[in-house]
């Protein structure tokens, strides 16, 4: 049963991350998720200092605020200071992460925070954190409920926003010329990425979140010719990575999050080699 819950929560989070990640990859902003997962540290420390507790909710709020701030700063440096997008991502998150570290070291006496523990959840503990109703009925792991709610939100956003996301990702200038609110779509996407990152790494760990954001969509990108199948395949690869990763971890008796990220990478390699072979086959008739 534990295995089932771990695979289920892994899959739910993989799909949420992957669907948003597909748009990030196409916008050439794949590392935004990585940036957010680091940049939220000062938010978590400040939330702890103000609330004085290690409750999840204030920390999530602190992290979410910093997540959105991160995307705003990245955009600001990119548009106003005319930096390259990758440079502006790099500056923003190292700076915010450093502030977080300073905050921890300055308030070290008062802050009983282990950043690894606060920042990085571990998917292996998912089945331990159960959710009970007032009358004591076991509803299953809390993470699964959170991840399912998150996925529902993301699916709603992507379903209704598919045209807005498509046109602003493919050709922002043209979208602007049509009079569409380009900034709204940018921040709606970035806000969703921020929320997803923060909610997910609390339960499955930062590395796995970043891996799920980038690797399944990048894999799907290699072998699809339009956006819809790319999103479906992304979800499918996310599921396969969770499933395969869990069994790999059991087999080698190692880290589950690590194994899931590894399997996602292995799928990417396999698909890449497959697409190379296919390309070669396809090009033979032209050469002859």
């Amino acid at each position: 049963m534990d295995g089932f819950w771990i695979i289920l929560s892994g899959t739910l989070i993989a799909i949420s991350c992957g669907l948003l990640g597909a748009y990030l990859v196409l916008r050439k902003m794949a590392m935004v998720g990585d940036a957010i997962s680091h940049a939220v540290l000062p938010g978590i420390v400040l939330a702890y200092l103000f609330s004085g507790s290690r409750e999840t909710i204030p920390m999530l709020i602190g992290a979410a605020v910093l997540g959105v701030l991160t995307t705003v700063l990245i955009e600001l440096f990119y548009k106003q200071a005319r930096l390259q997008i990758d440079a502006s991502i790099g500056i923003t998150f190292t700076w915010l992460f450093a502030i977080g570290i300073i905050l921890i070291s300055v308030f070290a006496g008062q802050v009983d925070l282990d950043q690894d523990c606060v920042l990085y959840g571990e998917i292996a503990y998912v089945p331990l954190d159960l959710w009970f109703t007032a009358s004591g009925i076991n509803l299953g792991p809390r993470t699964v409920w959170i991840a399912a709610t998150l996925l529902l939100l993301i699916l709603t956003f992507i379903y209704f926003g598919r045209r807005g996301l498509f046109i602003t990702t493919f050709n922002e200038e043209y979208a602007k010329a049509l009079g569409l609110n380009v900034a709204f779509w940018h921040y709606a996407l970035m806000g969703s990425v921020s929320l997803t990152t923060v909610v997910s790494f609390e339960s499955v760990g930062a590395i796995l979140v970043v891996a799920f954001l980038i690797v399944p969509p990048a894999t799907a990108y290699l072998i699809t010719t339009s956006l819809k199948p790319m999103l479906w395949l992304t979800a499918f690869f996310g599921f396969l990575s969770s499933l395969g990763g869990y069994f790999l971890a059991v087999w080698i008796n190692g880290s589950i999050a690590g194994a899931m990220a590894t399997v996602a990478g292995i799928f990417f390699l396999c698909v890449w080699i497959f697409s190379l072979i296919k390309q070669k086959q396809a090009s033979i008739p032209f050469r002859a």
């Binding site: 196409l26 045209r163 498509f166 990702t169 050709n171 602007k176 049509l178 010719t225 339009s226 956006l227």
Partner: protein, 259 residues
């Protein structure tokens, strides 16, 4: 509604990092004509189009379209960006891209109608690309990509079309097709404004010419514009044999620069 003037620019100045790219540009362009905006590299042609479409910040001045602000007449204006400005490896089909021409601000969340799809198909037909509807855009040649961009614009059903370098990097057949299409649009009473860099063909393609080199050099019917003095002023000393050789080399180099 007075539709004699398609575009009026007054005192238009645009700068990047305090360096003016357009300086005090002032003109009125007539409606129902095919208009070419000509000038050497870096003369602000693309910036002028972006200023018209409100895509760059103006340092001063204003632009009126059909004597109104852009926001009030947006439905009547269509913009064709430079082909190189997007990633053609994007996972999308030709039809997906052309349908964008039917996206509207207040019905973006709603499903596209059958009428929208018909208009998109009709637009593809006009550029002879209907049979490529389902093809992925990465499999298109440069000329086909340009036709898709123009079809997307046609699908908008606008009155004024603003095209940025539609003739760059396209094959001869596409160039011919675009030219014929522009003439057809003119017959339907549409206005077409095109950024173009080739002086030789400019005289053939356009009725009205705007000569630009950061400042406005001249704007008028082509017969008045094509004289040595004005061209010399726009192109400076560059209009000699050597610069033509340079142009030729650049043309040859184009496929290499493209990737």
């Amino acid at each position: 509604m007075n539709d004699k003037t398609a575009i009026e620019a007054h005192n238009l100045t645009v700068s990047y990092n305090r360096r003016p790219v357009l300086w005090n540009v002032d003109f009125e362009l007539p409606a129902g004509q095919v208009i070419g905006i000509i000038g050497p590299n870096g003369s602000g042609k693309t910036t002028l189009l972006k200023a018209i479409m409100d895509l760059v910040k103006k340092s001063s001045g204003y632009v009126k379209l059909f004597e109104q602000d852009l926001e009030e007449v947006r439905e009547r204006i269509s913009y064709v960006p430079q082909r190189e400005s997007v990633d053609w490896d994007f996972p999308a089909s030709v039809m997906d891209v052309v349908l964008m021409g039917r996206y509207r601000k207040n019905k973006l969340l709603k499903r596209l109608s059958k009428a929208d799809r018909d208009l998109a198909a009709e637009a593809l037909e006009k550029v002879n690309m209907l049979e490529y509807s389902n093809r992925q855009i990465s499999q298109l040649s440069g000329g086909q990509q340009q036709r898709v961009f123009i079809a997307r614009s046609l699908a908008q059903g606008a009155d004024l079309y603003i095209m940025d370098e539609p003739f760059v990097g396209v094959d001869a057949a596409t160039e011919e097709a675009i030219m014929l299409l522009m003439q057809e649009m003119k017959k339907e009473g549409k206005t077409v404004v095109v950024v173009h860099h080739d002086l030789q063909t400019a005289k053939l393609y356009f009725d009205w010419i705007v000569l630009l080199n950061t400042r406005l050099v001249a704007s008028g019917p082509k017969d008045q514009i094509f004289n040595e003095a004005l061209l010399q002023e726009a192109y400076g000393g560059k209009l000699n044999v050597l610069s033509k050789v340079g142009e030729l080399i650049k043309e040859k180099d184009f496929p290499v620069r493209e990737k």
